[in-house]
């Protein structure tokens, strides 16, 4: 399976993600932000497909775009009040926030320019024909499965989160 037009798709999807991210943090209306985030998440699923990780892409579409964002939209519709759109959108300390983010950005640039030579080219590309089976082997297999315990803990965490969310949102416990 030979990839086609990789730079075009990478730049298209990454531009979608970055524009989506900028729209998330700048829109007044929370529903517009949510829709921009959905676009960014779907573009992220496309980037996962480019990285030969189809299972993570599928999980991203089902859980993130199809589950978490529906939850967000429900809550936005439940608690949306008209006057939030006309209020002040940014914090009192937005200048400090931007300065901190700029410092972090400078740190990133410094690290990445210094470490640019850490990733030499010439990798072998493996296909994705067995991706699901390989992920399942890592999770469940008897001999190679190193993540079985984490899997069980994650399911326990989800159970606790379900109970916690129900208890937090009830009117009277």
């Amino acid at each position: 399976m030979n990839p086609v037009a990789t730079p075009f798709f990478f730049y298209l999807l990454s531009a979608t993600m970055i524009i989506g991210g900028i729209l998330v943090i700048t829109r007044k209306n929370a529903v517009h932000s949510a829709m921009a985030l959905i676009t960014a998440l779907l573009a992220q699923a496309g980037i996962y497909l480019m990285l030969y990780a189809p299972f993570v892409a599928g999980v991203q579409i089902i859980l993130y775009a199809g589950g978490i964002m529906v939850l967000f939209l429900f809550v936005i519709m439940l608690i949306s009040i008209e006057r939030t759109v006309k209020e002040r959108q940014f914090n009192k300390q937005w200048l400090v926030g931007i300065a901190a983010a700029a410092a972090l950005g400078g740190l990133f640039i410094a690290v990445y320019t210094k470490g640019k030579s850490l990733f030499p080219e010439g990798r072998v590309t493996y296909g994705e024909g067995q991706n699901v089976q390989d992920v399942a082997a890592l999770l469940y297999d008897q001999h190679q499965g190193t993540y079985m315990f984490s899997f069980e803990i994650a399911s326990l965490l989800l159970l606790v989160a379900i109970i916690g969310a129900v208890v937090m949102a009830k009117k009277r416990i």
Partner: protein, 116 residues
């Protein structure tokens, strides 16, 4: 220009860093709680992107170093991060609803009952 056309691991890492920065700006500067939670989701996504990109890089490493076609540790970690993001979003929104029932506002700088 030549290096811009061949998409290497560094490209994905830079993209992840950019998304992380956008998420951090969103968390630090917005007043609306829901948008802060969505910026946290952006941060988690940036981390996932880094994990999956580096797992792809690690697949190309020789087997004696831990690489090879089945070395998808980054992808498994990314799946766990997505699961945890779902749990955290659910509980966070539950807290938000409980809080909104008390105070009728969604701005986090009005959460100042404990301020002296």
């Amino acid at each position: 220009m030549e290096s811009m056309l061949h998409i290497s691991t560094l490209h994905y890492l830079v993209l992840g860093a950019a998304l992380f920065l956008l998420g951090v700006i969103g968390v630090l500067t917005r007043r609306n709680v829901v948008i802060v939670l969505m910026s946290i989701e952006l941060i988690l996504n940036a981390v996932n992107l880094n994990l999956v990109a580096l797992s792809r890089y690690w697949q190309g490493m020789p087997a004696y170093l831990g690489g090879g076609p089945g070395a998808l540790h980054g992808q498994v970690f990314a799946i766990f991060v997505i699961t945890d993001a779902a749990a955290e979003a659910a509980v966070g929104l539950g807290i938000l609803i409980a809080f909104f029932r008390n105070k009728e506002t969604v701005n986090i700088d009005e959460v100042n009952l404990l301020k002296w």
